[in-house]
């Protein structure tokens, strides 16, 4: 099965061949590297920019104003913070011009911890991204969702922030992308660039990819359950699934794990129904815990499900420190890991009503 990085590449290939994408760009996005995580290897329209995030966002915005469908990358979301004014402009352009100038751009960026990234390669961006009006924000956790959501993001007439969890970038999926060869080795031979100088003349050979997309705005129930609702996204999705499995096996507690996939506009119906059903809510993410997007979810769900709630809703998020420290001793305790997630689920499930 394709990895998340390969899924991005496949979707961008569909974008540039069938959906009008003319530019995929960012720092080291073009040849020879094809992105620091290889997500843009072999693409026909990928090119390297100056080291200037303001220029990257601005140029993508300008291309979109001219009616093109650019996909730009910020190499790590940790380096997006000098462009928030431009992101806000891109988000208000359609609205302020009364619909005259929609901004069909995609901005992609890897997020989160998990690679010993220390202070500047471990950031989350969900709080600020969801706080900028006018943007759609997606954050898939599997290769298939990545593929389908990237295609939807390209098609969308609005600016879409395409975040992806760097910890999972080389994980292979369990679901096949429509059109992908059965053998992952075959896929690799087709679309992974060789290392070294042989790369220079290499061209990828792309599989035939039938139309497919995953609509922005729909969450995914990864694991149905009865006793509590766990909302999560990104790196912590597989951890929540594992914790739920363990909880069920060891104590018969059944947690419903929902991968939000789209942070904005999120799937209100699914999370509302689940919270009403279970009456217990845990939100898990990695961003720092003060003014955290999970707090928005908790606020809205508390407002709408107050009388169904049997225990205080809980947020398990990143510690409110200025960064994730390099030492694993520090990283491990700064952002949720399996054990902490398991413990939090258990606690929410066990709290007396």
């Amino acid at each position: 099965m394709a990895t998340l990085a390969q899924a991005i590449r496949l979707a961008l290939h569909v974008g540039e061949t069938r959906l009008g994408v003319t530019d995929v760009f960012g720092e080291d996005v073009g040849p020879p590297l094809g992105g620091v995580f290889t997500c843009t290897q072999g693409l026909a329209t990928a090119w390297n920019t100056p080291l200037d995030e303001r220029g990257i966002v601005g140029t993508a915005f300008g291309l979109a104003l001219a009616g093109e469908r650019p996909v730009a990358e910020i190499q790590f979301c940790d380096y997006i913070y000098n462009t928030i004014d431009l992101l806000k402009l891109a988000g208000n352009c359609c609205w302020s011009s009364m619909g005259q100038f929609p901004v069909p751009m995609v901005l992609m960026s890897p997020v989160g911890s998990g690679i010993h990234g220390s202070i500047y390669h471990s950031h989350s961006f969900d709080a600020i991204a969801t706080h900028i009006p006018g943007w759609k924000v997606v954050l898939p956790s599997t290769p298939l969702d990545t593929y389908g959501l990237m295609i939807a993001a390209i098609k969308d007439p609005n600016p879409v922030m395409f975040l992806y969890p760097k910890a999972l970038i080389r994980h292979q999926g369990t679901e096949k992308i429509p059109g992908e060869p059965d053998d992952p080795k075959v896929l690799s031979r087709m679309i992974d660039a060789p290392v070294g100088s042989s790369r220079e003349h290499w061209r990828p050979s792309w599989p035939d990819l039938p139309d497919f997309e995953i609509p922005i705005g729909s969450a995914k129930c990864c694991r149905p359950g009865e006793h509590l609702t766990v909302l999560t996204y990104g790196r912590t999705v597989p951890l929540c699934e594992q914790a739920a499995q363990k909880l069920f096996e060891q104590e018969g507690i059944s947690a419903e794990v929902i991968d939000l996939r789209t942070l904005f506009p999120y799937d209100g119906e699914m999370i509302l129904a689940s919270t009403r059903k279970t009456g217990r809510l845990l939100v898990v993410n990695e961003d720092t815990e003060v003014t955290n997007f999970g707090e928005h979810l908790i606020r809205v769900l508390t407002e709408h499900c107050f009388y169904h709630l049997q225990a205080p809703p809980r947020l398990l998020a990143g510690a409110n420190t200025p960064g994730v420290g390099l030492s694993w001793n520090l990283e491990r305790v700064s952002v949720p890991q399996l054990d902490a997630i398991h413990a939090a689920m258990r606690e929410v499930a066990m709290t007396e009503a």
């Binding site: 200037d52 303001r54 601005g58 291309l63 001219a66 209100g268 928005h296």
Partner: protein, 344 residues
């Protein structure tokens, strides 16, 4: 492009001949518009004014020389809030600025949402003006890149103030427009009026000639007396031809006046600086191209047009409170979170 302005504009660009009468009339028209809008802050017809009296001698030639239309075959304009004369020369009906000044629902730029002189006009490639100083310089390379690929002779024009060039966006613009072998067809303008609100140019700029910053990037550059419409016309004809043909950037700094101070926040009173309209008028009278009486009647004509526009705009409604979410997203508003009703 059947309207008078549109054809004048096409004409101007084709011939590269300056019709001084036409330029004078448009300068007077733009000025009348701004003066009416300033008065609107005092008559309670608008909350806030910021605009371009003092930039007409440069902006009218520019507006006439722009290749107006929609899409990459035509010129894109990324403007700052002193650009009304460009738009007027392009053919903007005065009422469309006045509607924005009076925050009317009929304001075609922003539906009463944005400050005056923040234009947005898709059919003319006038991309939305924003209050954030200098950001347009980081965005403009995008439309120019689309044009570079498209071919033809459409170019991207970006303007902004002298103080604003201190933002990193100005450097971004120079850098992104001059990538070797991938130069962009951009006219990069600096409208130097010697002030950023209350801060004099010379107190914060070691770069005595801002445009010269382009030199290190291999970008051609120049300066022009933007109070002189003839010099401005000539320079613009020359450099726009270069950008259109060579598909490379040019950086031009125009020295202009700021005739009513920064904005209505500082009173918008008339200040003592060279007035391009007066000077040009005097010159045309001396050269017997116009008579003093003609000048007066031109002024009266546009004052009337602006006043009529205001009277009309006053009849028009302000936007409805329940439209605040409209156009947040192209293609419709998402259902979640459930938008709270606009407050009553």
């Amino acid at each position: 492009m059947s309207d008078v302005h549109g054809s004048a504009q096409v004409q101007a660009r084709r011939s590269a001949q300056m019709d001084v009468r036409q330029v004078y009339r448009l300068m007077a028209k733009a000025r009348a518009l701004e003066e009416r809008m300033i008065r609107m802050t005092r008559s309670n017809d608008g909350y806030f004014w910021i605009g371009g009296p003092g930039e007409e001698a440069f902006n009218v030639p520019l507006g006439l020389l722009i290749k107006r239309g929609q899409g990459p075959a035509f010129d894109y304009l990324h403007h700052h809030y002193r650009s009304s004369a460009i738009l007027v020369a392009m053919g903007l009906p005065l009422i469309d600025a006045i509607r924005q000044m009076a925050q009317r629902a009929t304001d075609p730029n922003s539906g009463g949402r944005n400050f005056v002189n923040h234009f947005a006009k898709r059919e003319w490639n006038v991309v939305p003006g924003a209050s954030t100083i200098e950001t347009q310089y980081s965005i403009a390379p995008g439309t120019a890149l689309a044009q570079a690929r498209h071919g033809g002779n459409g170019i991207t024009i970006v303007n902004g103030g002298d103080a604003g060039s201190s933002e990193g966006d100005f450097a971004t613009c120079l850098n992104w427009s001059s990538r070797p072998g991938r130069e962009l067809p951009m006219l990069i303008l600096i409208m130097n009026n010697n002030w950023g609100i209350s801060t004099p140019f010379e107190s914060v700029h070691g770069d005595r000639i801002i445009a010269r910053r382009a030199e290190a990037f291999g970008i051609r550059w120049g300066t022009v007396n933007g109070n002189d419409p003839v010099a401005s016309w000539r320079k613009l004809v020359e450099v726009m031809a270069y950008v259109r043909k060579e598909r490379k950037p040019y950086c031009l700094e125009a020295y202009v006046s700021r005739l009513h101070g920064h904005s209505s926040s500082s009173g918008a009173g008339r200040v003592q600086e060279p007035d391009c309209l007066e000077m040009f008028g005097r010159d045309l009278v001396e050269r017997e191209i116009l008579t003093a009486a003609e000048i007066e009647s031109i002024q009266a004509e546009y004052e009337r047009e602006a006043m009529d526009a205001l009277l009309q705009a006053r009849q028009e409604p302000e936007p409805d409170g329940d439209t605040i979410y409209d156009h947040t997203f192209a293609g419709g508003t998402p259902g979640w979170p459930p938008l709270h009703k606009p407050f009553v």
